[in-house]
Symmetry: D2
Subunit: 478 residues, 4 copies
């Protein structure tokens, strides 16, 4: 720890509270990359001797190789990843190691590392969201997608839909999530490096060069902003929350659909567990866990936002607490999405027996409208008729056209109450339940998913090229 | 309340819990607009007789005029704004009123109303954020901006900055906030109208026509998604949280800056209050209130996210609770920003006496680096020297070049320890504290602010044209 | 507004942001009570002339009568309830009105008002929680309680239970909630009045007397703490969150139980609604709304906690934002509980057809344990047998003893696989599913519910006596 | 993993998502204790052979010794701590290991473990909160406590106070926090063990015996509640939030007090750090970190509450996510409190030069009240006088009695405007700023602190006796 100025050592509990060695493991790769780029620039501009720069870069690459092989462990004695790297470098190459931190503060260094790490994480999240979409699309376009099932409102049978519309709607959300992650990533385009503590530096750094080498479009415009802005971290946590809420909705679909009596989904054996006590159980544990992950996702967002509250501009140590929250958020979200992608692909989607035969009631009211009855009147008459009918007949019993015609003599002869499987095709409006609309939906989702995936791949390839140029092993970023 | 099917009336507490009449006042304007557009389409497509459509439109316009004059009040007897409008319409024009709700569900209606209302609110927020920027820029470019003050890290004097960099950094954040609000608004581009309850409709609606008339680029692609998606509401609440956190940071600047002993800001009389007991008080209450608003902003975001957790796809009544949260969030955020814009513009920004003369310590270390000393060594030596010096001299006492040169003989003769006001110019790196960098920053902020404001104005004008076309008084949207 | 010291009027947006007139309506009754008590003490101690005190008290009582009749409205011109009352008092009785605020600050006044209002609210919440318990107990002890239904784990049939145990378990939670509200109320036992702004007063106030008259056990021990402590507000919001989470669990029971195919609950017509479009719908809207209320409950807790973050000790204006959050929280929680109490009492609880006949699997494994088989082996064997069986037989098909005995020859002849309705009695452990255990549970819940209700009533009566003594109409507290 | 029933292995990402091996390390000690107690009961009741029970207990004790020595590591292959222990036991003692889980489900086991672990954690938190109080009391009663400093409202000088009142007020809050933790702990008094999955067991378990052996007052009353109730976890997280908000307030006192110009606190070298770039810095990092910890504390509470939302009664896998949140919350809170206790004890508390000489303004107004002037008039006159005075004189300039008397001729001759150090004694009301009141406050805090600490110690000793009886090494609970 940097305590040259102080006579007393740091209090022990204080050292524990201020240490970030555990969470900093996630920053090791980007910290080495950023340090290599920084050292090269120091050499190129003559801020430090070229030979020193060369030795620093070689030393950092050696550490990177060790790290990629899992052999470089962070020592809690050195507070954080940055001091660990510097200490190891100096141990290896001697006094030149003391030149690495020239024209740099931990403030701009941390900000740069976080930007690099977050960019990486967001690429992973884009991919994972798109994969859930992909899984769902796969099922929607399979024969299972053409089967018909109750669409629910208020968790009650409302109107019949193709399974493909339900799955396609979920898929659409995950595509939007992938796009949201991408938009956040694309705004991480300015390099904080060279911003110093808050005010820049008097040494002739070349910020444009380091920005370019690290894959940023430009250097940040205010040093004061560069070191204290944490908006992309909260943006990412927010996007994780929204995505996991979408995941919780799909997971709930699986939990409820697996309930005996509902029976519209059967999860594969690879995504269920049994009980330690009850040998007959077949539990949708994984769907429950995915659903539950939305809780901590909201909590993490709160944690990070609350940390930022009321801080004056300029670096405050409070910001340190943001790091583990963001990393944990990203990791858990990605894991949940991966589970969901598998679960969705392997589940089977069923058509249980019809429990309510009257879900075509709107089409009946619409037919009355065509016959000139004001809608509100039609709605009232159909409602009362169904209420009366329920008293003597089960809701599940199919509605015979004859009983309907007896009640509504103004109906044209040709009108038939929609059968359970015919219903979706009756609603012909665009964006609605007919197969034509559903196919259009699936095509749109697929188009956007492909666009998203190819943008992600392009960026991954670009960054790999840059890292190859810096001589840093790709394995550190896997 | 629509209870035709049920014998018993709704429980009284249940009616109170389910009523949304109070919060729905915010929807009255957009609901009338949407209903006029819907009725016209019903007439144009022949779904209802043209003459009926004409009477409905005339009736709705009459209600709109009453409402704009503050004479149409929502009656709690009719659960929500939609049933209030329909009841009043039917009272005015008779049975044709019963045709208005043809080919529409409250589900797609609410979703459309929310999209319209949110679009309006976001325009207001874009404007208010940009105005805070504008205020700050005005001060930054005034002579006050050129005065020098401590930049803080850890709420301790770190390095000297121009006030203009501090204010410009805050301004940059509010411009980004305006842009974030705008991006959210631009994604509200698809009309839910015509999605029915969840599955579309069998009547030949023209969704493209209603979308166009309401200013949307297109109709939504899945009816199921259209009625249950609330992402733009949470997006808006998130953006409000971030903006209010930025506001809390600026407000904290004002609170701390007003503290006797710190004395770097003096708020104008129009933004301070006194105490009911202590006649000598001059309190920065408004800055405190702005700071505090970030708390409920986070809370509202949580409220909305938590409501959505675990809901299966399709409309659930839970969604109703989102409405008041979003409206309240938007209103409070806008109010806080308006206060902040005024407070920032009218405050005076001062240069208190220097409390720490050693804030140029990095420039000294950098000079040693230029003389060949490794940075870490230079840092250590400067630190120990300052520690020693503090034991006999106050931190506020200016550092004489002679004492410095005695300690660091390798320094070039020409090097002078930076005086408090010279410091910002010493750091010449781009994005740093020099006036050249600060001016570039202010120009960038100003350019983006103007861009943002003109996009906002264009959209406001476009929507006004559409509403004029629908014959709906602009006053309902003020 | 108190602006004597300042030349300029408060900025208009600033006045809107700082006004608390709307939320302060909830404080009117307690503010008048507290002011009457304060004025009497000022007279009794001779701090102001006895005659002045008499006129003030008479004036305040007159305002209280107006207020109870709904004729005293707060004027937004006077910032808050306190300044409204003082202005009206002075308008009525002249200069003596200017003596009311002697030896008092708004800081201790607000703290006292909040304590009084919160005590009142908590009494209401104790009662409402106990009433939900009461409703549930009523059903549990009725014949419906003795019917048997699946107990779920992982929302899958696990083991059969009496409806009474499920309902009794929910009832137990609401009793605990009532007790939690009570404990919070009982800790609001110290009067802040007389604490001044932060430091007490030089006038010879009698804090013990005012504390006693307002029903507190004592006066607060630190004036600095008294004006800034908001812990009981957050305690209340936390307790509301927990209670509404319990409510969300019971509501979910109703939503899922109403799903066709599950069919274990039928809500009464007074707690369901239909759809504006689909005439056949019967929606558990109220259960959904109750469930959803837990979202904003968490959000409000966050709002209040986040407001408090990082405030130095002493009154800060930020605290003002706590008021509306707490009031709204209390009102919505109480409303939701009232709806729930009615809904639970009027629902019918059914026994749908058995969907899984193997829920007695543990009893089979236990029988093998009794026969000497290690449990883990027994568990494995039963599990594999049931898996095999599922391949040819539906889970719903009753398990014949002969097939079981063929598989497990070591079973004693007498052992029979438990039938669906016999299951609860098989598990004889205390606290378990047998009727004996359930009856004990219901008795315990009932005992604690009665205790809770009688503590609530005693306190209500005590406070009414005190208010009668102050001459303040009870209607202001209804 | 228990997958006997299923043909396919669990999906790999699913296994990662569902594993709780990492967080379960915190449960190892209590899990072994609970298993020993359970096994003994199984033997004593004859549910399993006595000899088997003996071997199980011996095996578990051996594992406990290994664990205490840090040599028993959890293997991720076995999902959680429970399956790890059972696997290791069976490896050691053979088939008898398969008898341990008789008459027990993971559901009641986890609930019991959590209760035991939380009880332990709460004891730690009680102690840590009391220690912060103790530190503060130590300073308050030292000579530093008698020095006078500005009391702030709105972060502006309000009225002068003894440092002892400020510190004693903070100390009072931490005592209340200790008491809150204790109340939560005391309500964890019922043993879930023997509740099975949700419904109890058919085997003749002795729940009273296991409850007693584990230090509970009784067994839980409903098996269904026992396995799904997580209220004490949220209670603990809430109490952590409140305590850390109190900590954030004290930390803010340190951050602001360290600001040059304010200069009322100087932190010891053991609780400050310097900068990696700026050698002159002396940063209150630890105070910032303590302040920041309140953010994640709120977030964790949200995480846990949101996980619980909408879960039907009965065990759901969602509950698993609560574990790591609670453990992390407890650990971070305790660490922050320990840092704060040290920081508070070692800081020095100063009296900076007076920056506002008019903080005695209320005493002047009070003197006018004594002379018969209505308070509101007195307040107005004093306010205007001070405003006028400010235009020509610095606020810091002492107020001469002659200028005061010229303005307020009705003042009695004897009245003198209070000097900065005399002020606290002027306010003689109980609970106020006079030393007499402050001494009473400190005594009360001390009395409650001692009470709290001795209750904590008694409970620690009681639990140690019980664990000694079970033959489980105390080191596992340190």
């Amino acid at each position: 720890m940097l305590r040259d100025r102080f006579s007393a050592p740091l209090d022990q509990a204080a050292a524990a509270l201020s240490s970030s060695v555990v969470e900093d493991r996630a920053l090791l790769g980007v910290d080495l990359w950023e340090s290599i780029v920084h050292a090269r620039m120091l050499g190129a501009t003559g801020i430090i001797p070229k030979a020193s720069a060369g030795r620093i870069v070689a030393g950092l690459r050696a550490i990177a190789r060790e790290a990629a092989a899992g052999r470089f462990l962070l020592d809690p004695l050195h507070e954080d990843v940055h001091l660990n790297v510097e200490a190891e470098l100096t141990r290896r190459i001697g006094p030149d190691g003391e030149r690495l931190h020239t024209a740099r503060s931990r403030n701009d260094q941390v900000a740069t590392d976080l930007a690099l790490a977050l960019r990486e994480s967001l690429l992973g999240l884009e991919g994972a969201s798109a994969r859930v979409s992909s899984s769902l699309l796969g099922v929607a376009r399979s024969p299972q997608g053409r089967t018909v099932v109750d669409g629910w409102t208020h968790t009650q049978p409302a109107q019949r839909l193709y399974w493909a519309q339900i799955l396609g709607t979920h898929a659409l959300r995950f595509v939007r999530d992938a796009e949201r992650f991408r938009r956040i990533r694309e705004r991480i385009d300015a390099s904080p490096l060279g911003s110093g503590a808050i005010a820049g530096t008097s040494l002739p750094v070349d910020r444009r060069a380091t920005a370019r080498a690290l894959g940023f479009a430009r250097a940040t415009a205010s040093s004061l902003d560069a070191v204290s802005d944490r908006d992309s971290g909260t943006d990412a946590l927010y996007a994780c929350s929204v995505t996991l809420l979408h995941a919780s909705s799909l997971a709930e679909e699986f939990v409820l659909g697996s309930l005996p009596g509902v029976d519209r989904v059967r999860l594969s054996d690879r995504f269920v567990t049994t009980s330690s006590l009850m040998p007959h159980k077949r539990n949708p544990d994984l769907a429950e866990l995915v659903r539950a992950e939305s809780g901590p996702a909201i909590g993490r967002l709160v944690s990070h936002l609350a940390v930022l509250k009321g801080l004056p501009v300029g670096y405050q140590r409070d910001l340190q607490l943001g790091k583990p929250i963001v990393f944990e958020g990203v990791v858990r979200t990605r894991l949940a999405l991966e589970v969901l992608a598998g679960m969705a692909a392997e589940a089977s989607y069923r058509t249980p027996p019809v429990s309510d035969a009257s879900t075509g009631s709107v089409e009946l009211a619409d037919a009355l409208v065509r016959a000139g009855v004001p809608f509100r009147t039609a709605h009232r008459r159909v409602g009362l008729w169904l209420s009366k009918r329920e008293k003597t007949t089960s809701r599940a019993a199919p509605i015979r056209d004859s009983e309907m015609q007896a009640e509504f003599p103004e109906l044209p002869r040709a009108f038939r109450f929609p059968g359970a499987d015919e219903e979706p095709e009756r609603r012909t409006s665009s964006g609605g339940s007919s197969w034509r609309s559903v196919a259009t939906l699936l095509d749109e989702v697929d188009r956007r998913r492909r666009q998203s995936e190819s943008a992600t791949s392009r960026e991954v390839a670009r960054l790999q090229r840059l890292r190859r140029g810096a001589g840093i092993p790709e394995r550190l970023f896997a």
